[in-house]
Amino acid sequence: MFELLGIPPQALFGQLLLGLINGAFYAMLSLGLAVIFGMLNVINFTHGAQYMMGAFAAWLLLGILGIPFWVSLVVAPVIVGLFGIVLEKVLLKRIYHLDHLYGFLLTFGLALVIEGLFQWKWGSSGAPYPNPIPGGFNLGFMFLPTYRAFVVVAALVICLATWYGIERTRLGAYLRAATENPTLVRAFGINVPRLITLTYGLGVGLAALAGVLAAPIQQVSALMGVNLVLVVFAVVVIGGMGSIMGSIVTGFGLGLIEGLTKVFYPPASNTVIFVVMALVLLIKPAGLFGQTK
């Protein structure tokens, strides 16, 4: 077999696949964050906890009710999304008129509480979730597990569907307009507070959907969203706050960059995303796809 700069192809493609899968999760999560930030002006630090709740919902649905993965893929995000709607109605809507800092403190505190409760009930060691499509293909230069290929394709479909919904539909036009000038959109007869609640529910549902997809790959554990959410914030900042396409492209792109760094210089793999963030902010403070207002 060929070698590239002394790297065996199995290692290279293996890490690229891993990077692509991580990128798929970065993209799905940062997409939800971008949608929520655009509409609510709140940086949703509860996002990682809501991702974890999606994985847990699927695991509990399987364990208690015997509900299979494919049904959970729809049901779990709906349950967690409804939880998000309650959260918005009861807590978040009270802080929109305050400084960003309050939104940060509230959502960050909520994440700690939620993760703490799950840890207290189910511990932190994590539980496995059975792979719904075992097996894989031998591509000659590497082995490709079927489920992982499915995750990449599913994430792409979810991202593009969300992009289409926001950029090309009537409801999406309401969303974009209300992001710019909520007062005027409301004066046209659109119930903007309800639109905000639904947007939060949708963003939270996206996080939960990512969580369900992650369950068979990772251990289902109370703290599975903690580290991920940091990287995802970096992705949102690099892509440009509130930019939908920016989140998708940057999510996948940074996953790949991280994967390549693991091959060529492993010690930097945990920091490379933050280095990229610092560089991007130096050159384009609004992010790669962001618009300065």
Partner: protein
């Protein structure tokens, strides 16, 4: 004489701590075109925003079609059939011309169709897929007026539609406003440009320091010209 469509009585309004309107009274009959005249800061824009319900605190009475709206949210007021074209035009940059035009939902039957609006504003049809804010000032103003004609609203609130536009565009907007009146729209127009207002309106209310201080019918404008010039400081 036609029925009263909008009756404002004892309207007071605040922006945060500052008290802007101190008891505004006036009314508009169905099918009329009425202007609010007055110097900068007299409270004309605030009156429109109060009618639309986008101001934090307001008291008094605003009855539209005999329904009291003072306690309603602005989306509810809009769905009764009032549409607003703000001074800053409020064109959305993340929407193209066509999306901007289709944004306000239809609240009642009887509005213009998209085709009729494009016939009224052929420039917009040519640029329908351009980003809303890439249009010229005049085109943006036409878009801001055009998009509220679709909704079926009976009362249009137009805030300084001629501001900062070239004379030929002002003339075109005057023609359009007259056409809208002849189609049966009731219009409340805020204007700085008195000469423009005099050519289109039935009646003029003059505002000063948060009150309506006078009313002049268009037929009496010639006799009252001296008085009006004092009010407006021209």
């Amino acid at each position: 004489m036609a029925e009263t469509l909008l009756k404002v009585a004892g309207l007071q309004a605040w922006y945060g701590e500052s008290h802007i309107l101190h008891g505004v009274d006036f009314e508009i009959r169905r099918g009329e075109l009425v202007t609010l005249l007055g110097r900068n800061g007299a409270g004309k824009t605030t009156t429109l925003r109060s009618i639309m319900g986008i101001l934090g605190k307001r008291t008094g009475s605003i009855a539209f079609d005999s329904k009291e709206t003072i306690g309603m949210s602005s989306d509810h007021i809009a769905r009764l059939g009032i549409a607003y074209c703000p001074e800053e035009r409020g064109i959305f940059s993340s929407l193209n011309v066509d999306e901007n035009l289709r944004l306000p939902p239809i609240v009642k039957p009887g509005g213009l169709s998209i085709e009729e609006i494009y016939r009224l504003f052929p420039n917009l049809l040519e640029r329908r897929y351009s980003q809303g804010t890439k249009l010229s000032g005049g085109e943006q103003q036409m878009l801001a007026i055009g998009r509220i004609l679709r909704t079926g609203a009976d009362l249009l609130l137009l805030d300084e539609p001629t501001e900062g536009l070239a004379p030929v565009i002002v003339q075109r907007i005057g023609e359009i406003i007259r056409q809208l009146k002849s189609r049966g729209f009731t219009i409340l127009l805020v204007e700085q440009n008195f000469h423009f207002a005099a050519t289109v309106a039935d009646r003029h209310y003059v505002m000063e320091d948060g009150h309506v201080v006078d009313m002049v019918a268009s037929s009496d404008v010639q006799q009252s010209i001296g008085k009006l010039q004092t009010y407006l400081g021209v």
